[in-house]
Symmetry: C2
Subunit: 273 residues, 2 copies
Amino acid sequence: MTTQQLVKQILKKKSFLCIGLDVDLNKIPQHLLKEEDPIFAFNKAIIDATHHLCVAYKPNTAFYEAYGLKGWKALEKTINYLNNNYPELFTIADAKRGDIGNTSSMYAKAFFEDLGFDSVTVAPYMGKDSVEPFLAFKNKHTILLALTSNVGAYDFQTKNIEGIELYKTVIETSKSYNNSENLMYVVGATKAEFLIEIRQMIPDSFLLVPGVGAQGGSLEDVCKYGITKNIGLLINSSRGIIYASNGENFASEASLKALELQTQMELILKQLL
Amino acid sequence: MTTQQLVKQILKKKSFLCIGLDVDLNKIPQHLLKEEDPIFAFNKAIIDATHHLCVAYKPNTAFYEAYGLKGWKALEKTINYLNNNYPELFTIADAKRGDIGNTSSMYAKAFFEDLGFDSVTVAPYMGKDSVEPFLAFKNKHTILLALTSNVGAYDFQTKNIEGIELYKTVIETSKSYNNSENLMYVVGATKAEFLIEIRQMIPDSFLLVPGVGAQGGSLEDVCKYGITKNIGLLINSSRGIIYASNGENFASEASLKALELQTQMELILKQLL
């Protein structure tokens, strides 16, 4: 998917919501456990109930790998279901991969070719040759970890590296990578005020923003400091939406939570455009 | 597996060799492609031919994920085969994972519980709360990326962060993590001279050292600067061993390459002990 197609979808749906599909069998409605594939059954119901309110879905691979082969199968079924039924939706494999060049190529192949995701999150610690193999794929997007939403972000990311914070060094350096136009960045909603300086460095790049909801980030603050003329934001909510209820009505309750966020986003877009 | 059991195995086998199982279907002997599961057939033959010469196996998950469901299945069969037939061998999931706390817990569950690996490699960029969930598992080991073997290591890892290089900050900080006795570290063989200062910080920790062979690192230099009284090194070779031949004799040729390295290690141990 091209960035233009993503922007078009945002303007049409009046939403820049991304829904995180982090499926934990201990948290989903217990009646689903009778299904042949409870993880996929859960995702399918959530997707069918919310696809008109969001522009992206983001399964975090950890939650699938934890269930081994059946988890990986559920991930494959979920991305296939999205690509076959809702091809306009942007898909993110939240995998936080990254390795030496020939190995990163294999990860890129896994997520872009084998599974067919539009994008994958990548960790920057191993530098340029660990990221560029992902960037080589046309109309696929590499979402680089810059400033994450967790407390541990202060351990290294915000530390000064030769006079400039590490996360800024990561962003600045990445702009010179081959095919850097395929880059997006992860910036946690819990650190909205950091967006002022981040936008000076990357005024147009799309940002994937986790941390609204369960982690305490504010949608208003993120938009105030991070929104661009092409919107440039994908705001992720996982637990706050998909676990709104664990009864039979889980999908419709999830849809109500998604509608709440979409309504706030529509208001923000109205003020902006 | 405990560290003591690993050391005991090293002394018994006179080897601290780790073999990387990075299986690429384009590189394995073509006659194996007729097998029902060529990846596992290749691994099984390599393991059977080399298990007495090495103390650890390290499948890199990228090479399995690239083949989707059948790749993950081959990974599962490989670790099961190792655990059932050669339980004395140390197993490493080279996965370079790391995410916010509750997500890292799922990755730990995936590799330690579901698959049953002894250890997993973890990227440090997201800080303490992304690493500690792995450390919570008793007799399991978390191998933190410190200084990697690739060129991109110079992009961030060797840069000064408030007066000290980032990779040293990572090592120093990690020593205060809960259950830090379960930590090992990745240090690339291509940067052997860095081991002098690394050993001042972590005199006893085990290091996983990739980059001998195809990437150009020297076994002698790594041992000169990195070996400890408990050896403290796992030297990895992947391509140099497993792709020694792509004919029918691939397993015996791999075994010869492993023997070469084991012989050098035996000599080094003899001088040391």
